[in-house]
Structure formats: C-alpha cells, structure tokens
C-alpha cells in the first residue's frame, strides 16, 4: 500500500504542493489529472525522491519509501552525452527476469547502436521506458507517458501499463489528455491548487470532465470564437 500524507513541496516562495493526501490501497493503475502547472510532475518527483519534500510522509507497506521502490518515467528524460541506447540500457542492472531488450525493441524499433543525441523525442521516451521495465519496482510513476509517441507506441505503452497492473504493481500515470487516463485507470485523482481536489472512480469520469473543463469551456468558447 502506498500512502502519502500531507505532502508539501515549494520552490522558493512558490508552494506547489500544499498538502497531498493520497492512498493507493491495492495494486492498480491510478491517474493523476490536472491542468498545466497543477503540480503533477512535482508530485511524481517528490514520490521518487527527485524533488525534496518540505513536509509530509510517503510510506509503502508501512515503512518509509526508498529510492529502489519506485521507477520514474519523466516527461522529458535526460541521458548522458555521447552514449548509445544500448550502452544506456546496460548501465542498469536487470532485476526483472521477464524483460527481453531484443523482443521489446522489435516493437519499439529504437536504433540502439546510435548515440542518443540522434534520437527523436519519441525514441528517447521509449528508451527510458525500456530502462524502466528492465527493473523490478514496487511503484511505477509514469509522467505524461504518451507525450511525443506515435500511435503504435501509444498502444504499446497502454499495454505496458495494463501488464504492470496484472503483475500486481501500483502504477501512477499523469496526463493532461483525459482520454489517455480514462482508458487505463481504475481511479483518477484531480490535482488542483496543490491538493488532491477530488477522486473519481471509473463510473464518474464525466463528472471529472465537467469539473475540469466546464468553467473554462464557457469562457474559452466565447473568447476563441471572437478571435478566430
């Protein structure tokens, strides 16, 4: 069980997370929705230890979460200069026995012998995903995993998420495109004003949509129609 209590994160005087409380009781796929700047990436960064938290606790099965518990796919991944995709993957120890780089790359078609600087954004994301899957983790944090991917790769990521769920993993997925979440998640948490504003189950996604967009659409419709 993943349990986040009163998590607060600030960048200088700008408080981004004001007290996140989130519990993932059973292994499943949980969505984190929110507008740009709502703090989705900060939340994932804080859970994985990439971003320092100011206050609050993150526990996994009753103990403090450790670095090795989480696998984090960032929105934009940074790789070391002048190393090839193959070399990058070989930096990581294989702790997931089922993982086969060759088989996965038949699907992803990454030129693994080339240096990563020559890759497109989509290829970089797929490479980072392969590195993530090479290792067995308790919790997977996928921040905007569909961004920059072609249609086939989007489908592949969707299958990856479902396979992780079937394997009994807890997966947190963030996206600003709601449809990508509703297809895969059993619950979606709405992040707003630095807190979990509301949580929606599978039957409640229409309410989530109206919660997110209703006010905006009213104003935007008028403004955009006048400007276009």
């Amino acid at each position: 069980m993943l349990e986040i209590k009163d998590l607060k994160v600030s960048y200088g005087s700008n408080t981004v997370l004001r007290g996140i409380n989130l519990t993932a009781e059973e292994p499943a796929v949980y969505g984190v929705a929110g507008l740009n700047g709502s703090g989705k990436t900060t939340l994932f960064g804080a859970i994985s230890g990439y971003i320092k938290r100011e206050e609050g606790s993150i526990m996994i099965d009753g103990r403090k979460i450790l670095r090795g518990d989480t696998g984090y796919l960032m929105t934009e991944n940074y790789f070391y200069s002048n190393i090839t995709g193959n070399e990058y993957l070989n930096i990581f120890r294989q702790t997931n026995d089922n993982f086969s780089k060759e088989k996965m790359n038949e699907l992803f078609k990454i030129p693994l012998d080339d240096i990563i600087e020559t890759y497109s954004n989509g290829m970089r994301k797929k490479l980072a995903l392969l590195a993530l899957l090479k290792q067995e983790r308790r919790v997977y944090l996928l921040d905007e995993p569909f961004n920059g991917l072609d249609m086939e790769s989007c489908k592949a990521v969707e299958i990856v998420i479902n396979a992780l769920k079937e394997k009994g993993k807890t997966v947190l997925v963030s996206s600003h495109i709601l449809e990508t979440l509703t297809g895969t998640c059993s619950k979606i948490h709405l992040l707003k004003d630095g807190i979990i504003h509301d949580t929606f189950g599978t039957g409640e996604y229409d309410s989530l949509k109206s919660e997110l967009f209703e006010d905006f659409v009213k104003t935007a419709d008028e403004t955009i129609r006048q400007s276009v």
Partner: protein, 318 residues
C-alpha cells in the same frame, strides 16, 4: 539584433558561471588573440592566412550550429541576421586590419562571411568509436561519453605518449595532458536514475567509482610507463610515484564533480584548477625538481571526499 542579444545574454551567463578569475583569464587571452591577429595583418602572407582562418572558422560554426534550422525557418531575413551576428563577434578580429597596409582583406572577409551564411548544410551526428562500449563497460559512462567527446585530443595525446614512451620525461608530459583531458570527462552530471543505479550510500558510491576509474587510468597509463621504465630503469620509482599522483588527480576530478553534483547539470570546468595542481606538484617532480608539493593532491582528495559525500547524501539513501 535578436541573435546578438541572445549571444550576449549567453556570454554573460557563462561568465557568471565561470567566476571573475576565469573570466578575466579568458578576457586576457581574447585581448592577446586580437593583438596577434593584428600582427598577422601587417604581413601579406600572414594576413591572407588570418583572413582564410577567419572564414574557415565561421564556416565551421555555420555547419555545426544547432539553432540553424530554427533560425532559417522561423526568423525574418535569417541570412542577414546570421551575418550581423558573425560580423559583430568578428569585429575585434577584422577591424584592426583597417589600420594595416592590408586593409582590403576586411571587405573580402565580410564577403566570405556573407557567403557562408547561405550554407544550409548541416553535419549529422554520428556514433563515433562505436566499439568503445566493448572495451569500457557502460557503468563507466563518463569515460564512454568522454572518450567520444574528446576523442581527438585524448587519442592524439595518448598516441604521442605511447610513441615517445622510450624517451625520458616526454611521455610523462603527454600523460599529464591526457589526465587533464580525462578530468574534462567529469563535467556532466548524470541523471538521478543512473546515480541510484550505481550504489546505495555515498561512501560505496564514491569508492566504487574511484576504484573502477583508477583501474581504467592504469590500463591506459601502465603500458606506457612500463616501457619507459624498461628503457630507462632509473625512472622506475619516478614512474610509480607519477602513476600514483596521476591517480590522485583523477580522484580529485571525480570528487570535485560530486562535491557540486546536481542532477542533469553541466559543471564548470575543473581542468584549469587541476592543471595548476599538476604544474605545482607533478611537473617539478618529473623534471627533477624538489617535489615538496607532491602530497598536495592527496590531501585535497581527503578534503573533497567529505564535501562530496555530504552533497551525495542529499540524493542517495544515506
């Protein structure tokens, strides 16, 4: 003017990052270079060489600049803007020519620069030394990326050391320069997932990395020094101490990186700092002087180890 403004902002930022002393040193070198170019323009042959060199340098920049596609596709009058940018930064190098008998090179250089701005071809990045991953394991990614990035200086200096390995002092001087090139491998900070992968605690992490990288250094340096000691048996002890000191300089480079490590950041160069240490300690020793500063790198390693360890505690499960 937009491109010039952007470059000036970048220069200001770099200068801030380098600090006052390095910036002053670079400024001094710049002034010296301008004066040298002026002297070149006084003689016809050297003036022609200076003009050619200037045009070729601009061509190289034009071929390799990363923002070319953006500038050409998104800006109005891109060629004119690129020309203004190049001319602005070349002014200190071409303007002094106006005060020499060979002033006519100025319009010639400017015409060449304008022609260069029309070049749209761009070098595609290729994987150099692709088999390197078989010799150096990916866990030593600094060396993998570093040897590829600095392949010309690293390989040529190492080849010079190897070729001169039978001669007294010369291979050691080349190896000192190779160590400084290796120190540049540590200018890039790896992302956290790679950092986590290597070890759990700062102590294990630092000792593991130092051990692996010192072995790599020895693998490169030991053959050269072995031949040198075989040909000049009186240098055996000197070479052994030399290898030890070069190892501590490398360790210093590693500790310097982790002392100020920040995930995914490029660090300011530590080569000048290490070059000063090399000059103070190793050179007098190899050249037969009194090596009273020889233990300096070792003591600095101890000092830096604690600050590197403290900094890493922020990122690892300490």
């Amino acid at each position: 003017m937009e491109l010039i403004k952007i470059r000036l902002i970048q220069i200001r930022r770099e200068a801030k990052l380098l600090g006052a002393i390095y910036s002053a040193a670079i400024l001094t070198l710049f002034v010296f270079a301008v004066y040298r170019v002026y002297l070149m323009y006084l003689n016809f042959n050297t003036a022609a060489a200076a003009a050619l060199l200037t045009a070729l340098s601009v061509l190289f920049v034009q071929l390799t600049r990363g923002d070319k596609v953006f500038v050409l596709s998104q800006m109005e009058n891109p060629n004119l803007k690129i020309f203004a940018e190049y001319s602005f930064f070349l002014t200190p190098f071409i303007l002094p020519a106006l005060f020499t008998p060979h002033f006519y090179f100025v319009p010639l250089v400017l015409a060449a620069v304008y022609a260069v701005t029309r070049v749209r071809y761009r070098f595609r990045r290729r994987t150099r030394l692709s088999a390197l991953g078989k010799i150096i394991t990916p866990r030593n990614f600094e060396w993998l990326g570093g040897v590829r990035s600095y392949r010309i200086s690293f390989l040529s200096l190492y080849a010079a050391a190897a070729v001169s390995s039978g001669i007294i002092v010369l291979p050691q001087i080349f190896l000192i320069l190779v160590t400084l090139v290796i120190a540049s491998f540590y200018r890039e900070c790896e992302p956290l997932n790679i950092l986590y992968e290597t070890a759990e605690s700062p102590r294990k992490f630092l000792f593991g990395k130092i051990q692996r990288h010192v072995i790599l250094l020895w693998a490169f340096f030991a053959p050269v020094l072995a031949i040198n000691s075989f040909v000049n048996p009186s240098f055996l002890i000197i070479n052994a101490v030399f290898l030890f000191v070069q190892s501590t300089i490398l360790v210093l480079g590693i500790l310097f990186k982790y002392k100020i490590y920040e995930p995914c950041c490029k660090l300011p160069g530590n080569e000048i700092y290490l070059a000063v240490i090399q000059t103070l300690t190793v050179l007098p020793f190899v050249m037969g002087g009194i090596p009273f500063l020889l233990p300096l790198p070792f003591f600095l390693c101890i000092k830096y180890y604690f600050s590197a360890s403290d900094n890493l505690k922020e990122y690892l499960n300490a």
